[in-house]
Symmetry: C2
Subunit: 421 residues, 2 copies
């Protein structure tokens, strides 16, 4: 289908997201085992808890059914600030207050709003290589040059960050760099978590280049998987290193660990950006659904939310162990992957000669075997500096019925072996 | 506060919305009687109904708490198509199907998405004069030239529409015109409804100029107040005149007449625009909260929604009668207004010498008397062709506690008389 000439440049830049055809494949083949969807675990959804919360929420007071404000429910913003501070071992204060919290339609909307408010077409955002592929769609639509920085199991490669910044400086492009987008916990797609040391170093490196950029170089920290941690210690956020609240935009979601259908996310933003994000949010929808926000605030205040987390985490731990065990059992020895202690994904890397892309033999054979995965190349930004790696796959243990995980991996392992691995 | 130089042009074009300072005034003076807010009626919010619906929704099936799709819940899209067709006395068919329905975060998000997908900075949208002031904020942010067409009690002035189009054609600007934005039912701010004859004529006039424009000239029909009709017959939509589904984007909301806190709106879109709006929606938030959509679908399917409408409408009729009676009793005879049979607003016009603007004596005296209204000049697009009229005010009978409506109008009437009217 051709793109009409009268559309905006934003619309003409945009293409159908990968998720569209992945979903279409799923719908066309209902018996497919999908290891592709980033869906969350249906088996631990808190149906009874939500029902009870709604009853309590509406018992004496219908105002949760009334409009809220653009920035979000005041109680939820306050609880969010307290929660982020408690997780990070920092204290609210003059520089970091509930007014710096903006409630959004999932954390995805915060990614869009921040990008829209900071970037014109032609501006640059540094992204992890690989990165969250839906964010690459935002960059495409807004005309942002998403410039990849190599990803390692403990976060972006600092030498590549340094080199990339220097290259931008040398070519006179540093003024167009607006921020770095980092998915710092159990990253989508790799499952890797950025170490605290790398967070500190990355901020320092960015600071060093600010004079040459002529403006602050922000970090957008996407912590959307932080609370899906089922083992090991938590890592403090980049926000915890930004005591003056002037460089790090921190985003997270309440509903990925609780009930994705309720869709309440938030950003904790550097003070100078708050009003601009709010203006944009006002134009987009003048505020997220008040009902959902009041519901989440009540879930937090009542303890229901925190009591749910360990159940959800235990569910993911079981699914992850099932998938990890199946990978060891059925995947050929040439496939390599990291263990993960949170999130939704494994990211097996195959020998460089393998092609997992959607137009390659492995993907086709997997479909024929009734298994769907996310081809890894979708998660790499286009770049003139390297070809997109085509030898990875994103496998989700989040939404697949747990009984199908082993069967799906077994079939996929057989496909890989049949393709000569 | 100055605007940082590193923001995007979108952010630098944007200003704080009027609603921000109106809300701030309300918060600063909690005893203020606000006739300004476009809030809906707290007294008829369906708290018990929503509680029961949630119980039913989650009883045997938790999937309402799982992610949905970008376009929206399939059942809700189907019910929406059927409902719009039934209201308009038309039939679904090959040209108009559930796939043309997109569910959004209130109808506001549809306004933003459509504008973003069709317009670059410098493009033109024709708007009613006066129009919905939040839409003017979208135009400001996107750099759209919102060009006013005179509004009359039965819809836009066709002679002015014709003249405006001819002027754009003569000046070579017609190629930059993308669509006409019409609030066709109980318009915000005037309360006026566009007649069916005017809808037909407006479409014909637009068609006439398409060859010169070089592309389709769309209409964005905002029917957000259609179901807040408490007397008189319904009017078929512009969509009913677009049998081929190729020119009219129709938007409405389920939650303004039901529970604004749940915030579910939709668009019924010309086929060629659907995929582009969906791509943009995918980037914004990859779908509205599934829980809210499933809740509204159940409210529709079960009849709860339709049983609520007459209660809600009766509530607004009482409020409207209270405000209308008070206006007659307390406002000076020089003030003129139209009766309305739906929506939330009266729009009194004062003699041309009066200044209702936020920096004028009347607004200040009203605040001193403890009453807030929306200054009418906020609802007029900036234009070199006429000064903004400053002699109107938007008075809402929607959200004010009904006991305060008469008191508010009485005080406002006294202010007008004290200012020499």
């Amino acid at each position: 289908m051709s793109t009409p000439h009268y559309l905006s440049s934003l619309a003409r830049r945009s293409s159908d997201p990968a998720i569209s055809w992945l979903m279409k494949l799923t719908l066309d083949q209902p018996h497919l085992i999908s290891l592709a969807a980033g869906f969350t675990d249906n088996e631990t959804l808190p149906a009874a808890e939500v029902g009870a919360l709604v009853g309590e929420l509406l018992r004496d007071d219908a105002t949760a059914l009334q409009y809220g404000s653009t920035a979000g429910d005041p109680e939820l913003r306050k609880l969010t600030l307290d929660r982020v501070c408690a997780q990070d071992g920092i204290a609210p204060g003059a520089a970091l207050a509930a007014d710096d919290v903006v409630v959004t339609n999932g954390s995805q909307q915060l990614l869009y709003l921040l990008s829209e408010v900071l970037c014109d077409a032609g501006d640059i955002v540094l992204v992890e290589d690989p990165t969250y592929f839906v964010y690459l769609g935002i960059c495409e639509a807004l005309g942002i040059d998403a410039t990849p920085v190599r990803m390692e199991p403990d976060g972006i490669a600092l030498d590549d960050l340094q080199r990339t910044l220097q290259r931008l400086k040398d070519s006179g492009a540093l003024g167009r760099l607006k921020f770095v987008y980092l998915v710092t916990y159990f990253q989508n797609p790799t499952g890797w978590t950025t170490s605290f040391e790398k967070k500190r170093e990355a901020l320092a490196i960015l600071r060093h280049y600010e004079a040459a950029a002529g403006h602050p170089l922000f970090v957008l920290e996407d912590a959307g998987y932080r609370d899906l941690r089922f083992a090991g210690p938590d890592t403090p956020s980049l926000k915890s290193l930004d005591a003056a609240n002037e460089r790090v935009a921190y985003s997270n979601t309440y509903t990925k660990p609780f009930a994705t259908g309720i869709k309440v996310g938030y950003g904790v933003l550097p003070r100078p950006l708050v009003r601009h994000v709010l203006r944009s949010k006002g134009n987009h929808d003048f505020g997220s659904a008040n009902f959902n926000q009041r519901l989440i605030a009540l879930a937090l205040r009542s303890g229901v939310y925190d009591r749910h987390l360990p159940k959800m985490q235990a569910g993911y731990r079981r699914r992850k162990e099932r998938m990890g065990g199946a990978l060891t059992k059925y995947f050929p020895p040439a496939a390599k992957w990291q263990e993960t202690s949170g999130g939704l994904y494994f990211w097996p890397e195959l020998p460089a000669s393998c092609n997992t892309s959607h137009d390659g033999a492995i993907f086709r054979a997997a479909l024929d075997a009734g298994v769907l995965y996310v081809p890894g190349d979708l998660c790499f930004a286009p770049s003139p500096l390297r070809p997109k790696p085509k030898n990875c796959m994103r496998l989700s243990f989040g939404g697949t019925p747990s009984a199908q995980i082993e069967e799906g991996i077994q079939r996929l392992g057989a496909v890989l072996r049949s393709q000569g691995m």
